[in-house]
Symmetry: none
Subunit: 223 residues, 4 copies
DNA sequence: TATGAATGAGCATTCATTCAT
DNA sequence: CATGAATGAATGCTCATTCAT
């Protein structure tokens, strides 16, 4: 934490084997998460049994329960992970741009280029599997999506100000934020189908089109 | 549809009691559908058992299986019904307007006023419960949503022509159509949460806002 | 309930087949109960699986759950049944005698002759299997045994009055009542072991001896 | 127990650290036993997992298995310990009295004052938890309780001789011995419930009452 | 047509026990 | 000696579906 010497005083210097075991433990956790993700996406949450997950991760059923409280927790973790990744991607794209409007566009493009293409599994988990499966999950979904909506809403206000847009009703901005998310979500979902049938390179155009549509929609509210 | 005489040729002349039984049969079917809808929406598809449905419809389990092949078919029927209702509403709103652009707006408004408010259960069935539940259902979902997308796409092209919009790439129009559906879907879903907390009258504004946003997005593509 | 004619008015006259089905249902219930009793007594509650019970009753697992909420309920029912039978036996023996003291003795004898010999399974269920298995069961056990204790206590007071016995402390009578139950319980339990090794006819003597011991104990408290 | 020299002959001379380790080992064993006792009494044998025990003793699961062959052995050890303690208490009380009849009474009182009050956990283990849990345990229970019964039986014969009581049938004495144990057992168990609701001081009276009842019962058999 | 008892495959979850480190 | 990750058999329970009446 501070100097090397102090570190040794605070934490028992871990033996090399202990370090390795710790690393292995984390790998197992990760392996299980990936196994579950793959199965949830391709077979569906309810059609996937815990045994399936164990088999795919090449561990025993008991091990799954050593790392996760129950099956639901696996989906929950995957969902959180997905939303977190998405928020980071969008946030970074938005922040790195000079002007808000550029950032807003960049975030839109990043949604497709960085999230959908690079994490197709996460798209399915966040926008499909997590829907309507269990009480607890729906709760989490609500919370996480609210955060996402808030992100977009905040960014939207910044952009709007920069573009000289004033919303008569604060609710209007909220609707727009939600609508933007809806566009991304559905176009991404549609992409998951198209992706199988078409060339992945087309997605670049798709993202651009969606972003253009959105930016045009915003201009509607210009004074 | 035909004359009395013709009718007698096609169907054996029904006794009064047979007529009554036929009517009762249709009522049963309807009752079962409504019972399932209510439970799927409020408890979730997987959390609802066939026995639950039978209880709510005040019939026995066996009867459910007399009217429907299996549990999945119930959801399938409800989903089809929902999508059909929605398409009719949107189609009528679009057709009744003088100009395509007016019709497009009218359809947007109708989505909220006629579909969401008047059939809240159907909204949940179409946009939530039918997601990621089973192989077969996902198939149906894909097919039905494609029809819906096509409707919007066709209408979009008409409107675009009327507005003098030309898309360089046909894919762009498709993306816009999908995006529009995404806006409606997500805003509607969000509405289901808001509806509990807020006044239902606010929805009018929400619908208007969404439509404005969309129409603005379209103008972006004007030459 | 009243006249034959009235009966027909109150209850829909059951078709012969319905009557038979009802009877079969009750037989199933009984069969399941007996299968569970046998297994609980011979293998122990925890060592008996629901599948074991189903197998022995020659039905499927699901059927067990159609008749009983869960495994615990089976033991609960058996326990209640056992205690009920015992109370009836003791009560009848006590009531049918001319003098309370004779009744008290008769009840003691009946405990061995009528309960232990004729319902050896129930003895094991009531005094062995139901002990310390689950929260809910312990609760029931407490309640039922309290009733049994109260029965003995009430009888004891009657007998004591008849014999001219006055307890200085009401607690004393309670202790005696509990003690009497303890004697019966343990001697009966011991009998279950002896019974395997010895002649069942010996039990007559055992019961007599226990009763004599108890009656002697009571006389201790004579003024 | 022996001289230093002798000790050295039997065991290799232990280094101080080895001595400490030996002591720690014994402490661990004891700690585990106490942890298990507490949990078995308060949660029940089956409801207590080996992990629970390890947690409470602040060791790892593996350690539990270093000290005990398996979970059952823990209960077995606790049961033996309990019975042993009880036998010692009863034996001492009986031996220290001048006359057998006084010793018999003293032992009865000691059962409540020395065993029940000072080792409430052991009461529950011996008379509740050890009942009907597993084949092996039931075996042990039978054996240990037989020893206890034999103790009482032997003492009973001595007392009876001293009081001039002659049993026509040797089985009668056995029944009385078993009956006496039954009284103690059940009154003790009842006490465990009363103890929560009432003043612990009342137990003195309870013990006295039980003993009086027993002594009265014996006099019944006087010639 | 309607009933509801019966089925049994399927599943999530637990937990005593082992063993490499 | 101690650890705790890993195992996997065992089990209670659910529920969609069937079918004799």
């Amino acid at each position: 934490m501070t100097s090397k010497n102090e570190k040794n005083r605070n934490e028992p210097s871990l033996s090399p084997s202990a370090v390795r075991r710790q690393r292995e433990k984390e790998q197992r956790y990760e392996t299980l998460l990936r196994a579950a993700e793959h199965l949830f996406v391709h077979k569906g949450y309810h059609e996937t049994s815990v045994e399936n997950i164990a088999d795919r991760a090449e561990v025993s059923v008991g091990t799954v329960y050593f790392y996760f409280k129950n099956k639901e927790e696996l989906l929950l973790k995957l969902f959180s992970e997905g939303v977190y990744t998405l928020r980071v991607i969008l946030g970074q794209a938005f922040m790195q741009a000079e002007k808000p409007e550029k950032g807003f566009e960049a975030a839109g493009i990043a949604f497709f280029d960085e999230f959908c293409i690079k994490h197709p599994g996460k798209v399915a988990i966040v926008f499909k599997e997590a829907v309507g499966q269990s009480q607890l999950l729906e709760e989490a979904r609500r919370t996480m999506l609210r955060k996402l909506t808030d992100d977009v809403y905040t960014a939207l206000l910044t952009v709007s100000e920069s573009l000289g847009i004033v919303y008569k009703n604060p609710r209007t901005a909220q609707v727009v934020a939600v609508g933007i998310l809806g566009i991304y979500e559905r176009v991404a979902y549609q992409y998951l189908m198209w992706a199988d049938e078409h060339d992945k390179n087309e997605l670049g155009t798709i993202g651009r089109d969606a972003v253009n549509f959105i930016m045009g929609g915003l201009s509607e509210f210009k004074a």
